[in-house]
Amino acid sequence: MNDHRSDSVLTDAALDREIEIALAVDPSPDFEARVRLRVASAPAPTPFWMSWKSMTAGATVVAVVAAAVVLRPREKTVVAPVPQTAASRAAQAVEPVAQTANPVAQASRPGGTRLNKRAAIEKRAAVSSTSRTEPDVLLDAREAEALNRLLAGVREGRFDLTPLAPANVEAASELKPPTDIVIPPLSTDPLTPVQGEGVRQ
């Protein structure tokens, strides 16, 4: 054995041949049958798109999309009703009269009708906004009651406030009676001709 090894140098081909012979062992005849038996008890293979991973991923995506659609915050565009006061209603009533007052001017201006409508809308918005934003006068209830009693007393003549008024001040409500306007007639002296003036030269 040792002589055999020392006489010949082991070449790559010889080595490969030895390994090939050592590995040339066949499985038992019933090997494939036993594999089939073992595989038969295993769960059947499913297509990739049917695998539990892909199904789970798909179900997760669907759930996320559904949640996003259902829970999406909806934009509420509810406009609070504007409390219509008498002033705003009157303004609204006036607007149409003002628009038709000068049809000639409207016709001469191109887009005049559009501008008037826009102005009306803006005015209505302004009125409604002022009516909304105008603050209420806040008075103490007792103060308000006292003022009301005073005014009632002055109307009924129970209170005399003339001593409180200054002497030289005229009542603002009194107006002077209107007087006729006199326009003096115009008089002009006749022109005296200058010597030589007017003569043809």
Binding site: M1, D16, E18, F31, V35, R38, P43
Partner: protein, 181 residues
């Protein structure tokens, strides 16, 4: 609605049948390869068959992704090798298995002459030398020895460049020759 469900069920059954038929074809053409890969590590027929069976069962479970023939063979070889190595590391009576590697396969008579004993001893030395190789060199030399696989085929099975296979084969042969000569 019912027609669609029935059609879908029919399609699924057809797909499953196709998968099973394809797997049967892969089993027929790769069973010896898987066995010899396991045998190249374990050198015990029964253990090699167990490991090869386990590899096939795993391949069956993932077969929807391994339908391509080349891919299936490569995956099977790598899985079988890994399972065989794991099993070898867990073995306690490794010496007994090294002695059993020369057990006669069906059709081969038991050694009775001196030449047969020499052959057995030579094989034992060869396997001992192969076992001493690092794992990367060992798998290359075993695969190259199985059915005389060419470098390109080994590279495809291991999913490494052919140049890598060549250099590893060269190193493996050098070390084996040093040990055997």
């Amino acid at each position: 609605m019912h027609d669609q469900a029935a059609r879908l069920a029919g399609t699924l059954v057809t797909v499953k049948q196709e998968l099973e038929q394809e797997f049967e074809a892969r089993l027929a053409e790769s069973s010896t390869l898987a066995f010899r890969v396991a045998y190249g590590v374990l050198r015990h027929r029964q253990d090699a068959e167990d490991v090869a069976q386990e590899a096939f069962v795993k391949a069956y479970r993932s077969f929807s992704q391994l339908r391509d023939r080349g891919r299936f063979r490569a995956w099977l070889v790598r899985m079988t090798w890994r399972l065989a190595i794991d099993r070898q590391r867990g073995e306690r009576r490794r010496v007994a298995r090294e002695l059993q590697h020369t057990a006669p396969s069906p059709g081969v008579t038991a050694p009775t002459t001196t030449d047969d004993l020499v052959t057995r001893e030579r094989a034992a030395q060869l396997w001992q030398a192969i076992d001493s190789l690092p794992d990367k060199l060992r798998v290359v030399i075993v695969l190259a020895g199985i059915e005389g696989h060419e470098t390109s085929e080994v590279a495809r099975l291991l999913d490494v460049p052919p140049g890598t296979v060549k250099s590893r084969l060269f190193l493996a042969r050098q070390r084996l020759k040093e040990q055997l000569q």
